[in-house]
């Protein structure tokens, strides 16, 4: 099994509607350090999972839709539900969609999975993993 990983980061404001979150109900913010990993059992014709620069470009394109914004106003997180887990799911699913547009000889060989980890502080992080073209990985 091979994997390729790239990282980037995003800076956002948000708050939570659910009283479950205590002080995080107040408007605050976070820098999310983002790690994206693509796993695949074999390599393509160029001896890589895919091009590092292309993968970083896709991650940046997805993060640009979130960067320097207030997630309370983002359609993907209705009712102020932009938890780190939901954000990781959103980024992983968005990256997976973009990967389906990559020309076959430059795309990760099937079957591939996409995993996204968001580090919100030095002491907490969350991840989501999805199978490319097939939906959530459940085991």
């Amino acid at each position: 099994m091979f994997s390729l990983g790239v990282s980037d980061h995003v800076m956002v404001a948000h708050s939570f509607a659910d009283p479950f979150f205590g002080p995080a109900q107040r408007l605050h913010g976070a820098t999310y350090a983002v790690e994206l990993t693509v796993r695949t059992p074999s390599l393509g014709p160029h001896h890589v999972v895919m091009d590092i620069g292309a993968l970083r470009g896709i991650l940046r394109q997805v993060l640009a839709t979130l960067d320097y914004s207030n997630l309370d106003e983002h359609a993907a997180f209705p009712g102020r539900t932009s938890t780190t887990e939901r954000l990781a799911e959103f980024v992983a699913n968005s990256v997976a969609q973009e990967l389906l547009k990559v020309p076959l000889d430059a795309a990760p060989p099937a079957p591939a999975t996409v995993s996204v980890t968001l580090r919100e502080s030095p002491v907490a992080w969350a991840s989501y993993e999805v199978a490319l073209g097939q939906g959530a990985v459940t085991s």
Copy 2:
């Protein structure tokens, strides 16, 4: 598949009885940087694996039983056997037991796994993974 991770650390003394360990048979010590990850295929009603603060609290409670102590005298490591692997197993199993006490709507949705990584130095670490409520993960 979702996961949530939190980190903490613990400072202990210990030694090993087994000649296999060479100089580490002498009384020495370690700072273990501890990473705890809970994995689950779905999110609970609050859009999270579980509350980050609650998970950090459980980890701290478990580590407090080890912190600033000499593991040679700890009942969980008879015969001076507190290897990093056994420590990771102890912390993961202890956290898993505590997680079973969390009210259902605040607990990780089943089936969940608990993984603990202990970093003993910049160049070495060990992990143990256990299925919540079912015992060791073996594949």
Copy 3:
């Protein structure tokens, strides 16, 4: 010359009024990883710069006034001017004030300096250094 350092973090929302900041004029947020260093030419009666736990407590107390808040509404940053540099200055000055209240035998031996570094992302940080009881360090 001795120094003692401790770290913590804080999660805030903010925006900038000055068009100089481009997209950061929009409401966004950040996790600041905070490193606090106290420097002093000698050690006190306990062979330390000061107690690590006490220093971490002071840093937490200062950061608690910022955590989970919107800095656009904070009196220390009028006109939406909470740049990383101004935040580092605020934290360093606040810590310095608290250090002046520590009993003499537990305080850093004079002359001490306080330095605060805020890491806003994996690729950017800012610092401010102040002399304890005397104001800004200028050379």
Copy 4:
């Protein structure tokens, strides 16, 4: 499931023949920070996956065949194909071969897997996982 990890690094020159790689077709180089993880469902008689020092020694022995060299001239990467993925595969397979020579009571209990991650920069890395004595892990 237990795992044990150790790290090291290697400094090499290389280039790529394939136009796919753009500017990396030019002779350049990299420091690869290497993380080696051995996973096994149980511990051996010494309460460890295997000895940390022995595992670090095997990793160093394998990396020494690459260190301070030009990979364009290395037999394992014909036609200038030393991508990070192929390097991870080479290191993992080489370590796996060495592990088969370790005496049974000091070796990782079967069935074990070997995983190698190479970090080529702060923003990119690749991994390869192989089952000890059985070949590539494919799921």
Copy 5:
């Protein structure tokens, strides 16, 4: 005293002519993680040392002259002398020259210093500090 720091990285090949360097006389390579810090006693009109994005842009522009190249052929390191110290000096001096071209209201307030640290591996790094517009810092 304020400071602002940004980071980037560069991947190069090189070798050393001097027998002093042992195995590093062979053609090899390195990823240098680069940290650039600008120090200044006061802030400019925008409450910053300078714009983070502008500083990152300058660092990238300087590193682009080195990236994916063989330093043995670079005019700044005659006789194969591209030690980490000489590289740090080259990057710091080049950044300092670029900073002198920044419009006054966007430049670091004088007197400023520029410091560059290059991390060549997880266990080794070198730095060089220069006073902006005045040459090497010597104390």
Copy 6:
């Protein structure tokens, strides 16, 4: 101003006699991640502060006198006073003494300073700086 840095680590047990230290009066331990920096205003004949391998060798030699030991029994810390600050001072002074034995053309050009930082956990560290051949740096 140039500097060269190298890192290593050491694992020790210790306790403190002084009631000031609360729970750390109990026998416990630590992994200290050690960073050693040598600063000098100019480079020697080989275009380096000194050889990285030689500096790492000196640091290892000094740390070997502490590794896998109980500092309560070490002559340098009478009365159980092995605080992180005192340990940093001991390591820096010991390294400085060794550096004075290095042949002139391989030693750091005078005047040099030696600084040692010990990281005892992810949230705490201490440093000591000494002028080579002249004693403690006090400003």
